[in-house]
Amino acid sequence: MTDAAAAPVTAPAPDERPPRGTLRRAVRMLGLDRRRVLLAVLTGTLALGCGVALAAVSAWLITRASQMPPVLQLSIATVAVRTFGIGRGVLRYLDRLVSHDVALRGMTNLRTTLYGRLAAGRSEATLRVRRGDLLARVGADVDAVGDVVVRGLLPAGVALLLGAGTVAAMAFFWPPAAAALAACLVLAGVGAPLLAARGARIAERRAASARADASAAALTALDDAGPLLVAGGVERRLRELRDADRRLARAVDSGAATSALAAGIGILATGLAATAALVTGIPAVRSGALAPVDLAVVVLTPLAAFEATGMLPAAAVAVQRSRAAAARILALLDSADAPAPVASVAPEGAAPAPVAATSEALAAAAAAGIDDAGIQARALACGWPGLSPVLRDVDLDVVPGRSVAVVGPSGAGKTTLLLTLAGLLPPAGGTLLLGGVEPAHLSPADRAGRVVVTTEDAHVFGTTVLENLRVARGDVTPEEAVAALAAAGLDGWLTALPDGLDTLLGPDARTVSGGERRRLLLARALLAPAPLLLVDEPAEHLDPDTADALVTSLLAGPAAPDGGRRGVVVVTHRLTPLAAADEVLWVESGRIVARGTHAELSAGLLDYREAVRRERVTADQRERA
């Protein structure tokens, strides 16, 4: 599953702290509506404010009542107490709705931005992220940034506003108690969250590797249960798992003291505020500076004033965890936006290609008499940006009607070659012209109008068969779709489908087999309007006869929409059908080690002849059997 040598992922290592401002940048990308944020903070403050007011008014009510005034004097207070009691629940309900709405709107904004910038940015940024990682970033990571709003930003705003309001109201009764309350609120609302975040950070930093080890050990033990049982490796895996879990427990322990302190501070601050109000208030009552009724208010109100700050330590921990998610999203975006590291193209610098230059470049190419439909590679080097090229010195011309097959051992860079020829990876050296124009000067639509590549990991969307084929061209008719599926050898499969072309394919087509998936991707490529097709291993997972027939018909050059024959480049591991290719490239150890027709290579290259012979012999063997 994940055993392929993965392209380096640009996310920071877990033990590395993301740079300051990461979270702020990510939150800004949520594009939050200021008025809605204000509304959420306001309803939140009013909801918790009702709780504080309930405590204050009940304290007043009871103390005043003990002085046995006429009952009428208490009637406003009794009504207020009940109103606050109801208001709190209702307002809190509204607050939760408004704040979730704000966050969800922000998450939609962020996903749209993410999609837009990835779509417009450099293509290799999305190509080099593993599929699972991409899903995690647009899924769970965006959720985590949205979580910052609901659990961090808005509660912090509420705590600030409510704290300020309560302190101001208290100052009206007795300023010294208000000052003590303010100090305790800062302790609980700033000190405790900081400590909690620190404890979580310490634990998280040390726990990350242990957590990964535990997952890996569990995964191997379960994935390879049978082989491990037979080879006697189960105990060792379980020991690794227990070791990793023990290290995890130690790591968690290392941050626990700090977290414990943070949790204790919240309770301590509440009690201290009440005690301070008592200590300063009692002499003031004696001296007449404070009414006895007001003493009850200033002593009992603090008990309800810490509800908002009490949520902040957990919020700080959540925000702390979201920071890593934000860093991963930004890393992905930055890699999509960054200018190409290899400036082999435009002389005016490495800026992303201005699409306006296209027409100019096209005109220049036309003037120079270059065929406007072909691929022309000279001394082309192919590789992922930032890594050394896997393939060098590729000279290749592909024009409509010409077929080229690329063969060679796995890991020789065949897929990278296709992606480069299609203009999706910048050349790592040498020159590449698509229809006489450097790919960097072509708009995505122009590029795809010339050449289309289908890699083995191309996506099958969770929609109908027809809509999946329409990815190639929006106006594919059902008849065209049926014809393309037949050309890819899927006519039998299509008739077996319950709803024909309207059959829904599962998420990422887990409902189709490996071989069917490859041929579906091929059918899609055949529907693209481009005169040149680059196809990666269309016949993998098929039995030899079907595979050979498929590759042969592909090499014969499928008809282009305008009636002519298309140019194709096919990467394949089957050699027998390559007699149909105009040219075969044998790629090994980072170069083209041999090229020519199938007949020439069979005659001149021992390895090639041997491999073809073996395919034949075994085919005969099978027939006899």
Binding site: A5, V57, I62, A65, S66, L74, T78, R82, G85, I86, G89, V90, H100, T108, A119, A120, L127, R131, L135, G139, A203, A214, S215, L222, D224, P227, A231, G232, G233, L238, A249, A256, A257, L261, A263, G264, G271, T275, L278, I282, R286, P292, V299, P409, S410, P444, A448, V452, T455, G462, T463, V471, A472, H573, L575, D607, E610, V617, T618, Q621
Partner: protein
């Protein structure tokens, strides 16, 4: 599950001590909550009503401060040990689940439970942390603080106690009512939510493909539209989900308000002292506080509870008994399958298979994927009992023994199995490959083509490989595993698609290796796709796909005995 499943304490021993600690802290907390309320009410009542001096109240205030510090300490101690207990309990459950699932065998894992156990063991059980850290302590507090405060309120003022006790049962009643009312609609909402969410992710995951076709700009508007629809669906669900929270809040704050008003009115009549009134006023919210927290943490804990349930289900699945018959020497033993059928979701795979493996003989198992080739291997290795037919092992002059009755500890060490995805332990290449001497290892490496791989490694044979052979390509890993199989002295060799991921040269290497094994008199079973590999076998056995008619099996000599 019940809020606290006793099985949790059985399977996660570290949870026991933690629960005891939590209960102890809960009892102490209840005492301190009551003490704080009484001390506060006493100080306040005396000062506000009787105008007592600070000096006369100093002891009370001193005790109050001590109680505050005590409560803060209890919370800190709880927090200090909660995370540790959670990590340990999760670790214990994880090790238990993985160990038990492996013991249940690959077939059990393959019958749909595998992915679930993987999720459980990697991420799922981590969801127990909020359960241990947040939910469980509040649950305990609602069993200590709530009754303690109610009793004290009852002692102080029975009217207030009646109000509190009267409203308390309304909480579960309303929660259940709302749950019933909203069940259907919120499930519909959740389904819509997850569908819309996955559609957005699908578009984003397909972005590289859309780019390849130059069609990436169109779906941007669709991403936004889907996002908006997702938000509306989510808000619809939340409007209902938050209702239960609102009822909880309403009931608790309203009853506190009622208590306050009732005390006030009776104070005016002189039926109650201020000190008592204040004490009840401070205590009333404390009655509800743990319950409100349990309600608030309930959603955070449900994932963990569900994960624990799933873990118990795995742990309680019965493990089939392993065999006890000591395995004879396989060097002169014949393995025989007769009429072996295994029923699976794909039908009967294999269906009535006959197969004989004997020393010095190479047998190839062919057939389309899904026909039961790997299952056949698992039957042969005793990892699986056939539903019909028999797998037996016979040595000359002894009764055949059923493979499943063999003691695995004596059978498996005599087997070298190269599965489709070879398992490579982390460590130096030399140890991994094995072999008695450097010369023997080098000779084997020449045969399998591993010598070229080793020559390209920075530290040669001393190169440290990561877990799963990280640092090597798939083809190179295959060669490492092949060399190990070649060097292993095990008399029975099972190679499952050994040429997968290999090019023509690699394939030649495998064929040479198989020839060497045959020459050494070992019993070889090949699971083969590629015809070249089939051609090297002495006997070819076809496992027919389940749908291929009543006579699914044919054993054909491929090229006669050699």
């Amino acid at each position: 599950m019940t809020p606290l499943d006793p099985r949790l304490l059985r399977y996660a021993r570290s949870a026991r001590g933690y629960l005891a600690l939590t209960v102890g802290l809960g009892v102490l907390t209840a005492g301190l909550v009551v003490a704080q309320a009484l001390l506060l009410a006493h100080a306040l009542g005396r000062a506000a009503h009787d105008g007592a001096t600070l000096a006369s109240l100093a002891p009370t205030i001193g005790w109050l401060a001590a109680v505050v510090v005590g409560r803060a300490s209890l919370v800190a101690v709880q927090e200090r040990f909660a995370h540790r207990a959670a990590t340990r309990a999760v670790g214990e459950l994880r090790a238990g689940v993985v160990g038990h699932a492996v013991a249940l065998g690959p077939r059990w894992l393959a019958t749909g439970r595998g992915p679930e156990v993987v999720t459980l063991a990697t991420r799922g059980l981590d969801a127990l942390e909020p359960y241990f850290v947040r939910y469980l302590p509040q649950l305990v507090l609602s069993a200590t603080v709530t009754p303690a405060t109610i009793l004290v309120v009852l002692g102080l003022d029975w009217v207030s106690a009646a109000i509190v006790v009267g409203t308390l049962p309304l909480i579960p009643v309303f929660m259940v009512l709302i749950g019933r009312m909203t069940e259907g609609s919120s499930e519909r909402g959740l389904r819509a939510m997850s569908r819309l969410g996955s559609q957005v992710l699908d578009l984003l995951a397909g972005l590289p493909t859309l780019r390849a076709f130059g069609r990436e700009s169109g779906p941007a508007a669709r991403v936004r539209a889907l996002g908006d629809a997702h938000r509306r669906a989510t808000m619809g669900t939340l409007r209902i989900a938050f209702l239960s929270g609102m009822v909880l809040e309403l009931l608790t704050t309203l009853s506190v308000a009622l208590v306050a008003v009732s005390i006030g009115l009776r104070l005016v009549g002189g039926d109650l002292s201020l000190e008592t009134g204040l004490a009840v006023l401070v205590l009333a919210p404390e009655v509800y506080w743990p319950l409100r927290q349990v309600g608030a943490q309930f959603h955070a804990s449900t994932d963990g509870v569900a994960a624990a349930q799933a873990a118990f289900a795995v742990l309680e699945a019965p493990v089939p008994a392993t065999g006890t018959v000591p395995c004879p020497d396989l060097r002169d033993a014949t393995l025989r399958l007769s009429g072996v059928t295994v029923r699976s979701s794909g039908g009967r795979t294999p269906d009535g298979l006959d197969l004989t493996l004997s020393p010095g003989h190479v047998t190839a198992l062919v057939g389309p994927s899904g026909a039961g080739k790997t299952t056949t291997v698992e039957v042969l290795l005793g990892l699986l009992r056939p539903d019909e037919g028999a797998a037996s092992l016979s040595v000359p002059g002894a009764e055949p023994v059923a493979v499943a009755d063999l003691d695995p500890a004596t059978y498996w060490p005599q087997v070298a199995w190269l599965p489709q995805r070879p398992v490579l332990e982390p460590g130096p290449l030399r140890t991994l490959v094995g072999g008695a001497s450097d010369d023997e290892r080098a000779a084997a490496a020449v045969r399998t083509g591993l010598d070229a791989v080793v020559a390209g490694l920075p530290d040669g044979w001393d190169t440290e490989l990561g877990a799963g052979g990280a640092g090597l390509s798939v083809g190179q890993r295959q060669r490492v595993a092949l060399t190990r199989a070649l060097l292993s002295p095990a008399p029975l060799v099972v190679l499952d698609e050994p040429t997968a991921h290999l090019d023509a040269a690699g394939e030649r290497v495998v064929l040479a290796t198989v020839d060497a094994m045959r020459a050494a008199g070992r019993t070889v079973l090949l699971v083969a796709h590629r015809p070249s590999l089939v051609a090297t076998a002495d006997t070819v056995v076809t496992v027919a796909p389940p749908a291929c008619g009543p006579e699914p099996v044919a054993a054909v000599p491929a090229r006669g005995a050699r």
